[in-house]
Amino acid sequence: MLEKIDLTKKLGKKSYKQIMPGLSGQLFRLQKDSWDAGMAVVLLFEGWDAAGKGASIQKLTSSLDPRGFKVYPIRAARTFEKKRPWMWRFWMKLPRRGEWAIFDRSWYRRITNDRLEGIIPENEWRLGYRDIVDFERTLVDDGYLVIKFFLHISRQEQKRRFDKLSSDTQTAWRVTAQDWERQRRYDDWAMAWEEVFDRTDTEWAPWTIIEATSSRFAWVKVYRTIIDALVERIDQPQETLPDEFTLESTRPAQGEFPQEIDQRESIVFAGSGSSLPETDIQASGEDFPAQVENSEQDA
């Protein structure tokens, strides 16, 4: 999946300056619409270290009314958070109806960090996929909008950014030994993320992979994705925007997962999502998920 993403995509300063004010204004108005509609929005940002998650969130919130959103940076679970089921701390951060919650890292730590850093045993993190899919479906069924971003940069680009940050005494503190360790294990992380996309890219909560080599390109795509999703859900006619930037042109190649992922036993989802078809990284298969066997016999 990730290796098929075209990381050379860029957006010139000129076009960016043309497009951004319009997007920004539109997003602000849509935030008010979602407030009026009582629709809760969950936005989560995952991605490589130094991919620009924080900067993207800062950019995003600069366009929003601060009364309507909360930002949650997610770290390893603290002591009091370990005293209840692992999803508890995320349930507690869910937005009220009409409000937005923006997560910098998220419940996906469970099946990436906690997995690769050996924080919890395999039999526990393995259940994470199921719990996450159930959780997101529960939210979407209840009228929440869930948008998931993965900010993607190459290993070389990450190294370049680390080097640049380290060389400046003002920013050197931002690169830790842990970051370098993760950089060293880039391929392991990529495999873990592939499995995440494979198992948690659902019709109700699809992943959007952002080519983040150029931050201007990344921000515009983030804005466009959110706007499209909101417009579709709030059901209002979209305003005309410059044609220069379209999501179609940035859409990742579809299908064809790497061999090793295909061979794993996995949950299969109905692939062609009705929501956000243009940004949906589609999972293969036609069968309805197997994980809802519990009580699907509703009359």
């Binding site: 209840r84 089921p85 507690m92 009220r96 209840d142």
Partner: protein, 270 residues
């Protein structure tokens, strides 16, 4: 599909217990439970107890018998009533209010009424769309599975009483000044809605009795019997789950005064 005999109709409501046995078993089981609560704390296991049942089935009274003799630091009781429109609870997914009331490890949370209101009252009274209460079965099973995966001990009781018994209790309440406030006009609608609720309860028992979290239906026409049944079940199941034998402890209130005195003396000597 549903058979015509509801699960509830198979409950033998004639079960009773003599006053003497009741008092003895109450003491014994309360004492055992008190010891088990300490074990729960030592082993850092969270415990969730759901008590559901018909109006006037004795949910509150049963919870009082359960908690009467246990360390108040070890438990919390949540009485679940319909949410206010502008409350935090109403501003979130309906399970949110229960997630946020989950006990810490080492603690017991008792819910008088619970997340099952979604598939009972809210379904029958039509305050929720069909979609909403139908998907609740799945959401509830997923919720409970996460609790059990985490190591929580989860018990669910349905206290069953007959319609006749229920109406008798309503009458008794409305005649007694002290209990007069406990009965509302809605309660008197019970005979009309009984059959609708029976369908809902039946489906609830069928769809949410999972291996991880089975329902336990208790015959409640005799208050005393229901209380002892629930206490005994809790003691038996907790002893098994924690692998701790607490049955043979002498109850704090048991024994004659004379015996107690001699015990005290013995302690002083030590």
């Amino acid at each position: 599909m549903h058979s015509k005999t509801y699960l509830l109709n198979t409950v033998d409501l004639s079960k009773t217990i003599g006053q003497e046995d009741y008092e003895r078993l109450l003491r014994e089981n309360q004492a055992a439970l008190s010891a088990l609560v300490h074990q729960i704390y030592l082993r850092q296991r969270p415990v969730v107890v759901v008590v559901e049942g018909w109006d006037a089935a004795g949910k509150g009274e049963t919870i009082r018998r359960v908690t009467e003799n246990i360390d108040p630091r070890g438990y919390i009781v949540h009485a679940v009533t319909p949410t206010d429109r502008w409350s935090e609870d109403a501003a979130h997914h309906y399970l949110w209010r229960f997630w946020r009331r989950l006990p810490e490890v080492g603690q017991i949370a008792l819910f008088e009424s619970s997340w099952y209101q979604r598939v009972l009252t809210e379904r029958v009274e039509g305050t929720r769309s069909d979609d909403e209460w139908k998907r609740a079965f799945r959401e509830i099973n997923q919720f409970e599975r996460q609790l059990v995966d985490f190591g929580a001990i989860l018990y669910k009781f349905w206290i069953h009483i007959s319609l006749d018994e229920q109406l008798q209790r309503f009458e008794a309440r409305s005649e007694d000044e002290r209990h007069f406030w406990r009965i509302s006009e809605d309660d008197w609608r019970n005979p009309e809605t009984r059959s609708l609720y029976e369908v809902a309860v039946d489906e609830m028992l069928l769809k949410t009795s999972t291996i991880l979290a089975p329902w336990m239906v208790v015959a409640g026409d005799s208050r005393n019997y229901a209380q002892i049944e629930i206490l005994q079940t809790l003691v038996r199941e907790l002893s098994r789950e924690l692998d701790y034998e607490a049955i043979n402890l002498s109850a704090p209130n048991s024994g004659s005064k004379k015996q107690k005195k001699s015990k005290k003396k013995a302690r002083r000597k030590n």
